[in-house]
Assembly symmetry: C2
Homo-oligomer: 297 residues x 2
């Protein structure tokens, strides 16, 4: 198990047992007169982006990485706070560009940058965002809603995100998350940040230790990706993974607002733990639940 | 001007003009069915704590540094999110201790740790918290409420915080902030993180470019501090700075819940910009508005 995986189990014991009102899903719920969903993710230089990356792409990824967690919980973005710890490489002009790009992108997606903090270090740049969203009228769709017999879908093609640079330019699937939640009632949903294998494994465990059978030929791949392994393990796709009851498939397939890739049934949930890939020649391959874990890079 | 000072002016132009609903005060206001005050501050290794600092003290400072911003806005802490980017020096046991200490201290002060993120880096450790609080029934007390003739107070002795290690052990003045707000109606309030000179300068500018006359003999000093310069410029005191109309002084002086140091009038607000220190021999010293700016360390 990875270091983060171990630590998340420690934290679940320490803070958990309260479902959404604690760690474990894409965003945390804060109950109040107006419920809020909150998420907080950093971009670390050398981990989530390489030194020399264009500032506009850094700003874009920082925002959409956080909004993607809100999309997975069908939350409408409401505000962000930013804590920027700048390493020594940043010029005044580059910092201004980061602020301007982030402010502009916030405006474009309809959220507001309301506060935060600035600091400097001789060490690594760490840019952290906290994003707050208003939950949809219905209860948020969690990772833990899977049951045997449900169909699995992903919102778009997977794989090759890091090699291609797509990990810097993706758009959080806010509209699709809301559309799915409002019209198709997924039983479970999350965003794919660490690869289908690792993230589906998390969803299966959160749902009580279930398993999945994936059909290799149905997993949508990006045009520059050669093998299904990339879709399973590359990570940083930021597509949505969701599950439907079979009775809901017709309605999904007829919805013009849902992209074609998201209508493909890539597999099904089964009672037996573990993820099996059903190959083109009928072979059954056990999928290792590993993916892109940031600590490894 | 410091790099952060310059950047904050850029951000004020970019995001500002909305008073509290934007950057500039100790916490940002998010309006909604239940208003929230939000703050987000990091602890950076080598900047806010030295490598080798006891983990429990790191956890304590991380939480109270954020709660201090809520104290300055009379907000009752409601929840925190944490984004931890660990450098390579952290053992499993040390990370567990950080989680446990932070969870324990959250419970002690009556707040909950509801979510966040974990990551690893070969670079510097950056531990970031976002703290959310419920504002008091009345409108939050801002930095911008000063007017000429008002008296200035600080909540406790200043100076020597870094040299003594007090910067790791202070308690956010949550109870006092609420007491002052509820019973004494300060016209302006903020927490002192960067030294009285720099932070008072910020408060005077936020109030339209006013000035202050401080009485050297009345500025409360920590026992291990020799000169008023330490109180003015060391920073990291995390005491509250507040202003009262003279008519409110009797009530403050008679409140047993307010510590004696906080009842001392250390100076007054004047129309002419700049901070003057009135020395023991009647001399008038222009105070440089510099303090502990983290980028310098």
């Amino acid at each position: 198990m990875s270091r983060e995986g171990r630590d998340l189990e420690v934290l679940a014991r320490l803070l958990g047992g309260r479902g959404l009102e604690g760690p474990g899903d894409d965003a945390a719920l804060l109950r109040g007169p107006g419920d809020l969903l909150l998420t907080m993710d950093p971009l670390v230089e050398g981990v989530h982006y390489e030194p020399g990356t264009a500032v506009a792409r850094i700003a874009h990824k920082l925002l959409h990485r956080n909004l993607s967690d809100l999309a997975a919980m069908e939350a409408r973005p409401k505000a962000i706070l930013a804590s920027f710890v700048f390493g020594s490489g940043w010029t005044d002009g580059e910092r201004d560009e980061l602020y301007e790009e982030l402010a502009r992108e916030c405006e474009r997606v309809g959220t507001r940058w309301i506060g935060g903090d600035l600091a400097s270090t001789k060490g690594t740049t760490v840019l952290t965002l906290c994003a707050l969203g208003s939950p949809a009228a219905r209860a948020p769709i969690l990772r833990s809603g899977l049951a045997p017999g449900m169909n699995l879908h992903v919102s778009g093609p997977l794989g090759g995100s890091l090699a291609s640079g797509r990990h810097l330019d993706f758009e959080a699937k806010l509209a699709l998350g809301a559309r799915l939640a409002e019209h198709h009632g997924p039983a479970a949903m999350m965003d794919l940040s660490d690869g289908l294998a690792l993230d589906l494994g998390r969803m299966l465990r959160a749902s009580g230790g279930l398993g999945a059978r994936l059909t290799e030929a149905r997993i949508p791949l990006n045009h520059d990706v050669k093998t299904v392994d990339a879709a399973l393990h590359d990570g940083e796709d930021y597509e949505l993974l969701f599950a439907l009851n079979p009775s809901q498939e017709v309605q999904l397939s007829e919805d013009p607002e849902v992209p074609e890739a998201a209508k493909i049934i890539i597999g099904e949930v089964v009672a037996e733990p573990g993820i099996l890939l059903l190959g083109d020649q009928g072979e059954r391959i056990v999928v290792s639940e590993t993916g892109f874990e940031h600590e490894l890079s």
